[in-house]
């Protein structure tokens, strides 16, 4: 520790569309440290890292790594020099197998042929060593988000990177997986690897990072030693005010049931039962949190209810009417709306503009029309209002949605779904990749909806979010509703964690029985 391994000085980056994403940003990282990079959505964190990794050009500045200048190096050269990056949005080839993605570019060969047996063995061994277990032969398109993250980590580790850039790696991980990852990062650190860690969760940064650099609107606002600071100071630097992610909720006033699942089952296309006779009831004025280890049916539950997963069996009653098998249009008309887990596949049309992404569910509404035709003026006004209300950082409604920063893409989705004013909101990871300020805002919105008598089904990998927001909690384990807590306030994080792992009670866990 102590030796400076990376120095980025006075980096300025202006995107072709005129956005100044970095202005005179400097970053100094020491060998063997875990260095956090924090800042609001759109502050320029991902941009700075893409510049370092050689996939975005920069207009001014200088980068030195390990005593050598990286003068506008291409990423192939950057990788060679010992830098690896896990991107905020996955860089995987979906139709290829896991091991093929991992070895891509470094394929071991036997004569003219790829040595698949060796590649698979290497992938397995690497997975064992870093406790990142994946099935090397699975196709990437078939695996969950959490597993894709592991594949990305393995990819970087296989390339022998000494400096690892992790852009919001924990945004898609469950608490258990995050713990696992932290153990791993600390191990890497012990082996003198250096890590740049981007996260919106101050708690995580306090826990494993040595120093933190904070960006705001594309500029440096501070570099601190974590040991000598506190969460409040960091959040003040990031957003200019104190943000405490604590909610003051009114006691709930429940009304009639709005959404009810009876014996909801689902078999995926590999013939595996992913939902097994799930029952629950969601009442007006209630937030029901769905917790579980990634891949235990939470996502399928949300998708089955909203009609995205065809072939579900059982009943899903909305105001007493079975909606299974109805088209998504009909389901939306019945007052449901949905924030999907993955903003880039289901949430947005990345090539479309911001306004196009804000209105598709309401394009038929007379409020956006004049004489029966869509009125661009009315749409622009509507989009402008949403952009302002949800504080979406963009150049205007016409900007391409795919060019927004990750958190701002998420805000577009959230803005659309919340402003649809549904009776039942299914929120699948609503605050994934969102900064603390916006996180607080979305939480408040969700609680407002609840107080207005709406019903919310909250699926989240963030236990803190589940515990803070939910009135009641449903725990999923292997496709079953493993536990239900009517009063979320009476549940501890530990108990929830055990139930997620399938233990019936604390005592059983102590004896190792399920």
């Amino acid at each position: 520790m102590g030796r400076e391994i990376l120095n980025m000085s006075r980096i300025t980056k202006i995107y072709p569309n005129g956005v100044m994403a970095n202005k005179d940003v400097s970053l100094s990282v020491e060998e063997g440290e875990i260095h956090a990079l924090m800042g609001e959505n759109g502050a320029g964190k991902s941009t700075l890292m893409k510049i370092l990794f050689g996939i975005e050009a920069y207009d001014e500045g200088r980068i030195t790594f390990d005593g050598r200048d990286l003068v506008h190096a291409a990423s192939a050269a950057v990788i060679k020099s010992g830098i690896g990056m896990v991107h905020q949005h996955f860089m995987l080839v979906d139709s290829l197998r896991v091991y093929e993605n991992i070895i891509l570019g470094l394929e071991p060969v036997k004569g003219p042929v790829i040595n698949a047996a060796r590649a698979i063995a290497e992938t397995r061994a690497l997975g064992e060593r870093y406790n990142l277990k994946v099935d090397p032969l699975a196709r990437v398109e078939d695996i969950s988000v959490g597993l894709k993250q592991k594949v990305e980590l393995l990819k970087v580790l296989l390339r022998g990177a000494r400096l690892l850039i992790l852009d919001e790696p924990t945004a898609v991980l469950t608490p258990q997986e995050t713990e696992e990852l932290f153990g791993q990062l600390l191990l890497l650190k012990k082996n003198n690897h250096t890590i740049i860690f981007i996260s919106h969760k101050i708690r995580e940064v306090m826990k494993i990072c040595d120093r933190v650099t904070v960006l705001r609107a594309g500029r440096n606002v501070g570099a601190l030693k974590v040991a000598q600071t506190c969460p409040e100071e960091i959040s003040r630097l990031m957003v200019g005010r104190d943000v405490v992610l604590k909610l003051d909720k009114r006691p709930r006033r429940e009304g009639p049931p709005l959404l009810e699942a009876r014996g909801l089952s689902l078999t995926n296309r590999f013939g595996k039962a992913t939902l097994k006779k799930v029952d629950f009831q969601l009442r007006s004025g209630q937030i029901l949190g769905v917790a579980g280890v990634e891949g235990n049916g939470q996502n399928e539950l949300a998708e089955a209810i909203f009609g995205l997963a065809r072939g579900a069996e059982g009943q899903v009653l909305v105001k007493g009417r079975d909606i299974l098998g109805l088209s998504i249009r009909r389901i939306r008309d019945l007052g449901l709306s949905y924030i999907p887990e993955d903003r880039l596949t289901l949430g947005l049309a990345a090539a479309g503009s911001v306004w196009q992404n804000l209105i598709p569910d309401r394009a038929d509404s007379p409020a956006l029309k004049t004489w029966g035709f869509l009125s661009l003026r009315k749409i622009a006004r509507h989009a402008g209002e949403l952009i302002e209300a949800f504080n979406i950082l963009c150049r205007g409604p016409d900007q391409e949605a795919g060019l927004l920063s990750g958190g701002n893409m998420q805000k577009v989705v959230v803005a659309r779904e919340l402003s649809a004013d549904p009776d039942v909101l299914i929120a699948n990871q609503p605050t994934r990749g969102i900064d603390v300020g916006a996180n607080e805002f979305i939480w408040k919105k969700i609680v407002e909806m609840r107080d207005a008598g709406k019903a919310i089904l909250l699926v989240s990998a963030d236990l803190n979010e589940i515990l803070e927001l939910s009135d009641s909690i449903l725990v999923m384990c292997e496709g079953e509703a493993a536990a239900y807590f009517e009063d979320a306030a009476a549940v501890t994080e530990e108990e929830l964690g055990l139930r997620m792992l399938g233990y019936k009670s604390k005592e059983a866990a102590a004896h190792g029985q399920k």
Binding site: G105, P112, L147, E180, N268
Partner: protein
């Protein structure tokens, strides 16, 4: 009567394999384009120009093999041209493809007129044909020998190409990279691969295959070039590629289906059915097959959620 049918069957099977040759080159070219993430719409025009180049090359350079090489070189050059326009100059691939196809139609007629003074074909030039091959042992097997032996050398090359492409795409390093760059260029770039290089490799291979298919038309199928002689084979290749699910074996089967209908239409024309109607058949089969296939695929997509729960337990 019975023997009459069996003779028909043998000649029909033989004809199927014969007409399959250019289709197979076309569909394999489309396969490589698609795997490399490049629009395959220009295949038709490239093939037509290569058919012309094959005949002209054979005449100018003094032999069908020289003509074949010249045709392939033309295919690669045109493929690179298409790639340069769409990848480097960022032209819209569909428009560039249509432009190339239309250009091919006009330019080939211009060239044969320049060379022969006729506008229809190059029959007056002597360009010769590539040899037919009697496959040693196979030729002596009853029935099968008469179906499988005695085809043009390029017919066997086309079949070998299917196996070779399978090997290349799924077993070799370059094949893996080509598929990765074609499907998700950003991912390929993020591990330091040169996407441009992968794409130009795809353009090279596909161009050479289209060249083989085109040259076969004028140097094997018949011994001269006639205007618009590829007659939509490049487009049928696109259809076969998508129906064959983008894997060489599947594309081969799809191509076989189109070849059967092609051969059938020739056979039925010899009976006294209206020839125009019969000539429609391969195209009708294409449309029907694609429709059936798309429905099937849409249904399979809807069958379940994409996310598979992990097989490895934490």
């Amino acid at each position: 009567m019975a023997s009459g049918i069996s003779i028909d069957f043998v000649s029909f099977a033989f004809a199927t394999i014969r007409v399959m040759t250019p289709l197979l080159f076309a569909s394999m070219a489309c396969l490589v384009y698609t795997k490399g993430g490049i629009d395959s719409i220009a295949t038709e025009g490239i093939m037509l120009m290569c058919a012309m180049a094959g005949a002209a090359g054979a005449w100018l350079l003094g032999g069908p093999f020289q003509g074949l090489l010249f045709g392939m070189a033309t295919g690669v050059a045109l493929s690179f041209l298409f790639g340069y326009a769409t990848l480097s100059l960022k032209a819209n691939p569909v428009l560039a493809g249509i432009a190339l196809n239309i250009l091919a139609g006009g330019l080939t007629i211009f060239v044969i007129y320049y060379l022969t003074g006729e506008k229809g074909s190059t029959q007056s030039l002597s360009s010769g044909t590539l040899p037919n091959v009697r496959v040693p042992l196979l030729a002596d097997v009853p029935v099968l020998g008469r179906i499988l032996s005695g085809h043009n050398v390029l017919t066997y090359v086309s079949l070998l190409t299917v196996a070779a492409l399978h090997f290349f795409l799924y077993k070799t390093r370059s094949g893996l990279r080509l598929r990765a760059a074609g499907e998700n260029p950003q991912a390929a770039e993020s591990v330091g691969l040169s996407v441009t290089r992968c794409k130009y490799l795809a353009l090279f291979i596909a161009g050479a295959l289209a060249g083989l298919g085109g040259a076969f038309m004028s140097l094997g199928y018949v011994s001269f070039f006639s205007k618009n002689m590829t007659a939509g084979r490049g487009f049928i290749g696109m259809a076969a590629e998508s129906m064959g699910h983008g894997v060489p074996g599947g594309v081969l089967l799809a191509t076989l289906l189109f070849s059967v209908s092609d051969a059938l239409s020739v056979q039925l024309q010899m009976m006294s059915l209206p020839p125009e109607l019969m000539q429609l058949m391969p195209y009708l089969v294409t449309i029907v097959a694609i429709a059936v296939y798309s429905r099937h695929r849409a249904r399979r997509r809807a069958a379940g959620p994409a996310a598979d729960p992990k097989e490895v337990k934490p």
